[in-house]
Amino acid sequence: MADAKISDSETADLEQFRNETRAWLDANCPPEMRKPVTSDTDVFWGGRNAKFSSEPQRVWFERMRDKGWTVPDWPRVYGGGGLSAAEHKVLRAEMARMGARPPLSSFGIWMLGPALLKYGNEAQKKEHLPKIAAGEIRWCQGYSEPNAGSDLASLQTRAESDGDDFVITGQKIWTSYANYADWIFCLVRTDPAAKKHDGISFILFDMASKGVSTKPILLISGYSPFCETFFDGVRVPTSHVVGTVNRGWDVAKYLLQHERAMISGMGERGVGRPLGQIAADSVGTDGQGKLDDSMLRGKIATFDVDEAALAACAERAVDLAKAGQAHPAFSSAMKYYGTELNKRRYEILMSAGGLDALEWESERSKQGARPRAWLRTKANSIEGGTSEVMLGIVAKRILDLPGA
């Protein structure tokens, strides 16, 4: 019975937190920030050269930052909100309920932050985490190389020891927004003689360092979110290594779990109206109010079932992690399903939009927002490890199937 009492009072506290949070969000989230994002340029990324696309975007970011709610579950000492797991869940639910946008999009929040919290030393945490939380430094990720994509551990970028520095030489590819980033978290080979997983280090450095250059890669969507990134004798203090030298693969793997969880969750980030209603606008309805394309209607309904089920699974994955029952490779399962589902979503959106969804350059189509987004999703099942790599990880690490 004692247990029941404790849980009753926790429930009451949580209800109070929910009410206060709801009231605060209602008072502080500008109406413009309760609408879905329509394009990449409408997302706030922070950084030294940060630009707000609108005044409401600035207001929303600053209010959330001041509460520590750009990173609600990080400790307060590092600029976070210090929320418990249960409170964080409440906050997310309340934001989702009103359709509130994330105030800050950031690889620092999604990927580097969790890795630093686990593997960083105190000086590194104090130096970098508060700046990530406040959106002062925009980070990019230096993982993939021209010959080391899904086979990441075969990367060749060298870091040679020279006194208190490493001297870094090599090339990265698919570096998202490298041309806008202030700092990079990067995998480099510090021991070429070791086995491929054992000679890699995880290192942080300023993109303004001498010897760093970037070149955008134009994609089928007409955008260049990705870059080639070149390092020509870049000097980086050895103190910038996170974790142990030559043990960077542990950090990399941990961070990849967060990246995969982030990519798998892309569907839940403010997509807006239900697909069925979007489709009804362009396709029309029959006398009973049903979509006037029964096959499309069936596809949408099946999609809705799968999306709702995935959302339950994503919620459960978080709950399992908090209960210490999560399999470390489960994010690969989520990444696989989430990205395949997101591709289905956009395929349906294109089908529902018909001819209207084909416009590429016109004001009416917001410069082809929909077809560009559709094309963008095709990379979901490639980036962060392909679907095939994810299935391989599930097969070997979760199901324990034998290696070839």
Partner: protein, 379 residues
């Protein structure tokens, strides 16, 4: 509510799993089938089930039950799904107990619920009349006669119909097939004059029956809930049944999957373990993801039912639709990956395939529930 089992729920699962896997493995169903057992389940085992409090799991404590929730009922159903144990749990302890508890008056509750809890009374819901699950298409007639009613019509796939002590029959007191208004639930004694019950041996060797009612007289006291307003009561009871069957299908899918993965790790062909082939590894991994997603959707539905049955419809539709699709895939892949062995009666996999087909039809298949979600979302 977190989507993980609490400590108490884990203990419940462990004790149910221990009991069921020990006393009622798949060979138990095989034996009942091969011996053409007239009851179709083990009465002895049902009594030990009742003694552990499982029969009255959903019955409130004041009527002698354990007063637990749908999440707990789902835990038992999942374990039943793992061994395909035939038992009155679904029809009596989940569906009928919920119908009586939600729709019954004080007299009806105190007469029937304690007997359900003690395992001494078996009850079932008689709903579908056509080939597919269409509750609103009910056309079995109940016409007023004196102080009571006369029931005439037929029902198909009545689970445990041939051994039930109490039938809960959906009938039409007004309106036409397809309408929500005019449905009424009746408590009918299977021994009453005019009731004809034919046991139907189904593909999965579980109990079902076809029931015909010819001018069966019942008193006004036999109405469960309100006359003409049965649809809402029925919605809730059916959603509870759907959540439970989804949980059974999760257990069934998971068990087939585990057996299949074990087989992949042991069977050699072309000089290799077949589990080394990437084509099979990827299919197994996809199936694992499907099952995990379905498990989460089912837990979500059971929690929604525990929170408020009337608001759980969409979550239940998602769970039942997903469970049907996933179970079908799990048994198909299970048989395929077991190769020729999977086609033999001697191997258990075929039992799972047959049960999955029945569970898919029971209370609405994946198409039916996908359609329900589309309707609820207004497109």
């Amino acid at each position: 509510m977190a989507l993980v089992l609490t400590e108490e729920q884990s203990m419940l699962r462990d004790s149910a799993r221990g009991l069921i896997s020990d006393k009622a493995p798949v060979s138990h169903l095989r034996h009942l089938r091969d011996s053409k057992d007239p009851t179709g389940f083990s009465k002895e085992f049902w009594h030990s089930f009742a003694e552990m409090g499982f029969a009255g799991l959903l019955v409130p404590e004041e009527f002698g039950g354990s007063g637990l929730g749908f999440m707990e009922a789902g835990i038992i159903m999942e374990e039943i799904g793992r061994t395909l144990m035939p038992s009155p749990f679904l029809a009596t302890s989940v569906v009928a107990a919920s119908a009586l508890n939600r729709g019954g008056n004080a007299t009806q509750k105190s007469e029937f619920l304690p007997k359900i809890a003690s395992g001494s009374l078996l009850a079932t819901l008689a709903i579908d009349e056509g080939a597919k699950h269409r509750p609103l298409q009910t056309s079995l007639q109940a016409v007023r006669a004196g102080n009571g009613f006369k029931l005439s019509g037929a029902k198909a796939l009545v689970v445990d119909g041939h051994v039930a002590d109490l039938l809960i029959v959906a009938a039409r007191t007004a309106g036409a097939a397809g309408e929500r208004e005019g449905l009424t639930l009746f408590l009918v004694n299977p021994a009453a004059k005019g009731v004809a019950i034919e046991r139907t041996i189904m593909v999965d060797a579980h109990n079902a029956a076809r029931i015909e009612l010819a001018n069966v007289e019942v008193t006004a006291d036999s109405v469960l809930g309100e006359v003409d307003q049965g649809a809402t009561l029925l919605d809730g009871v059916l959603d509870i049944g759907r959540g439970a069957v989804a949980a059974e299908m999760v257990g069934l899918s998971d068990e087939v999957f585990n057996r299949t993965v074990e087989y992949l790790k042991n069977r050699k062909q072309f000089g290799k373990l077949i589990g080394e082939f990437q084509a099979l590894q990827h299919r197994a991994a996809e199936l694992y993801v499907d099952i995990e997603i379905t498990r989460a959707a089912t837990m979500k539905a059971l929690q929604a039912l525990d929170a408020d049955v009337a608001k759980a419809a969409s979550a239940v539709a998602v769970a039942k639709a997903r469970a049907g699709t996933t179970a079908t895939r799990a048994v198909q892949e299970g048989v395929q990956m077991h190769g020729g062995m999977g086609m033999t009666d001697q191997f258990d996999i075929g039992f799972f395939m047959k049960r999955a087909r029945v569970c898919e039809e029971l209370f609405g298949d994946a198409n039916y529930h996908t359609e329900q979600l589309a309707k609820a979302r207004g497109y």
